[in-house]
């Protein structure tokens, strides 16, 4: 089957200094795993709407409060291996958590520690659900959910709920405002393919009216530099450039331009 995918070619941006970069905001990136060197899963970031791809990303950030009437729900993270990913058709991609949920309240320098009020995060896909609190990694630690198609692709999103004490999102168990850190490895049922290195998912809970973008930026940089040095952070271009890209993305989509993993690239990265 011929694979159709649209890609915008965007100049790569390498920034040595990380002191004054705005990272958060804008569209969220999916995890885009593929079979990398040594048959180990590697992860890029892929932005569906803009068709932007950024290489070698292991820190992803999301923000609650974007869904109408559902302040503690997100249809993220998404997993989107692209055509030519190297996963066998009919195999399954999944994840396994590697560490308990941790928390930073957004004050001072980024530092993740114990949960303030027994919060937890559930990651669901249909009947499959794992709930991670701060005490230990749940058992089982994850599940397989993404069915690889003939081209090596799928695009599925987990459903994530942030829960307060007692597994509720309402008072008095309302989840504390701050940033939550979840760690996981991407797995595959493809024979001989090894799980990825740990990827880090940050979830900001702005609690309705808080502004956590700056703190989320700090957290991303901290986690990347601390736990995943040498990897990139995926960013979306500045608003002016973004609007142009959106128009281009629509145009490109309408043309259904052909695309394969070979020769793909590249969104902005830091």
């Amino acid at each position: 089957m011929q694979t159709v995918r649209n890609t915008l070619i965007v100049a790569a941006l390498s920034v040595a200094s990380t002191s004054s970069i705005t990272l958060a905001g804008g569209p969220d990136f999916d995890l885009s795993p593929f079979v990398g060197p040594g048959s180990q899963i590697a992860i890029n970031a892929f932005q569906d709407d803009l068709q932007l791809e950024v290489d070698n990303v292991r820190v992803f950030a999301y923000e609650f409060g974007e869904e109408i009437g559902q302040p503690f729900f997100l249809p993220d993270p998404g997993f989107h291996p692209l055509p030519g990913s190297g996963f066998a058709s009919g195999s399954l991609v999944g994840f396994e958590l590697t560490a308990p949920l941790s928390f930073w309240n957004g004050v001072g320098s980024a530092s993740f520690g114990a949960l303030p009020n027994l919060e937890s995060i559930s990651l669901g896909f249909g009947a499959n659900v794992v709930v991670s609190g701060g005490a230990s990694v749940p058992t089982p630690a994850g599940y397989a959910f993404g069915l690889i198609d003939l081209d090596g692709e799928f695009d599925d999103h987990l459903e994530t709920f942030l829960l307060g004490a007692g597994g509720t999102t309402s008072a008095p168990g309302t989840p504390t405002a701050g940033i939550y850190l979840l760690s996981l490895r991407v797995t595959s049922s493809t024979p001989g393919v090894l799980a990825s290195d740990t990827a880090y998912l940050l979830f900001a809970n702005p609690s309705f009216d808080g502004q956590f973008e700056e703190q989320l930026d700090q957290a991303r940089l901290f986690v990347r530099d601390t736990f995943a040095p040498g990897t990139n952070l995926a960013v979306v271009p500045e608003p002016a450039a973004l609007s142009g890209l959106i128009v281009l993305a629509g145009f490109a989509a309408s043309r259904s331009a052909l695309r394969r993993r070979v020769g793909r690239h590249v969104g902005s990265r830091i």
Binding site: V4, D48, E67, G69, Q70, I246, V247, G250, A253, S256
Partner: protein, 344 residues
């Protein structure tokens, strides 16, 4: 009624009958997202949908019938994360408004049995559509019901969201194999864009790919006159038509709009009459040709008018509508008699 008026009426009827459109075969998409977009219509702007395959990039224009396979992932035999709604930048959907759906039809099932495709109310199962904590369950007896917000429309009219669909039985048993379908309509919160026509969402569990396709083909192009997709054109369909006669402007096949113009009117009655009480067909395209041929051959019962009156009574249509139906039925019968009694 004077002779000139009768003559004019007959002439008009003949023209109307001759021109009565037969619903065109509709494209259906399997495994595709619905791609909403806004398009100008004479009365303003309206939501239309195309089919878009994420994996192949294929676009099926004006698709309104979407089929999905359940149970593609372990532990989820009756689940799929579809339908997806994937509007691209430039869709015309208003940025900042919310895209939502509402339930337009109950849940029906075809068991895949040998013979004509025939959907019946799914009496044992329900279809649960959810997104986060928002959810709605559609049963075999559901009627029009509120759905929920899918999401906020983003920059330049883009939005990409997938609902979760789960087929389940109240007693926890496994749903029967078959092709299940319901229908929904998309709308935006601003109120200045007309809602979409009915979108049919179908889910296969346990049927072969061939039967899946057969079912989708019939769903997309049922026999004209078959308002409930059971492959019979009978009294039940007549009741549905009578209930909605002279109504519009965005009605669907299950309302009795067989010519696809959004209203239920005389041409729809003609289409139904042509196939009334004719045998079900094996044709995947809805058996339009066979249905018309057999209908006009007069093999579908001479009691159509009386059945129509009875249908109007069952449907409790208002008197003006009833009079319209009776008048329309008279025109249909005139046309029928001319076709089946050439020697007189």
């Amino acid at each position: 009624m004077s002779k000139p008026i009768v003559a004019i009426s007959l002439f008009t009827a003949a023209i109307v009958i001759a021109c009565a459109p037969v619903a065109n075969a509709q494209a259906y998409a399997i495994g595709s997202d619905a791609r909403p977009r806004v398009q100008a219509v004479p009365t303003g702007q309206k939501i239309f949908t195309d089919g878009f395959s994420d994996s192949s990039g294929t676009v099926i224009e004006r698709a309104r019938h979407f089929g999905y396979e359940l149970g593609q992932t372990p532990g989820n035999p009756f689940f799929t994360a579809d339908p997806g709604f994937n509007a691209v930048a430039g869709s015309g959907l208003p940025t900042g408004q919310q895209l939502r759906f509402d339930v337009a039809y109950h849940l029906r099932r075809w068991n895949g049995a040998t013979g004509p495709v025939s959907f019946q109310p799914a009496t044992d199962s329900s279809l649960r559509l959810s997104f986060g904590a928002s959810n709605v369950s559609i049963t075999g007896s559901s009627t029009v019901a509120p759905g929920f917000t899918i999401g906020s429309i983003g920059s330049a009219g883009s939005i990409h969201r997938h609902l979760n669909a789960t087929l389940l039985n109240p007693d926890g048993s496994a749903p029967l194999p078959g092709l299940y379908f319901s229908a929904i309509r998309l709308s935006t919160t601003g109120g200045n864009i007309q809602r979409s026509d009915a979108l049919y969402i179908a889910y296969n569990t346990g049927l072969s790919q061939t039967d899946f396709n057969r079912g989708m083909a019939y769903l997309a192009s049922p026999r004209p006159g078959d308002a409930n997709f059971d492959n019979e054109v009978d009294f039940a369909d007549l009741v549905l038509l009578a209930r909605n006669f002279n109504l519009g402007p965005d009605l669907s096949i299950f309302d009795g709009d067989f010519d696809g113009d959004g209203t239920v009117a005389f041409p729809d009655l003609v289409l139904l009459a042509r196939n009334f009480n004719t045998p079900a067909t094996l044709l995947g395209d809805g058996g339009v040709a066979a249905g018309v041929a057999s209908g006009l051959a007069g093999g579908n019962g001479s009691n159509f008018v009386s059945e129509l009156s009875r249908a109007a009574a069952v449907a409790t249509v208002p008197e003006p509508t009833l009079m319209g139906l009776i008048a329309a039925s008279g025109l249909v019968m005139l046309r029928r008699n001319r076709n089946v009694s050439p020697s007189h």
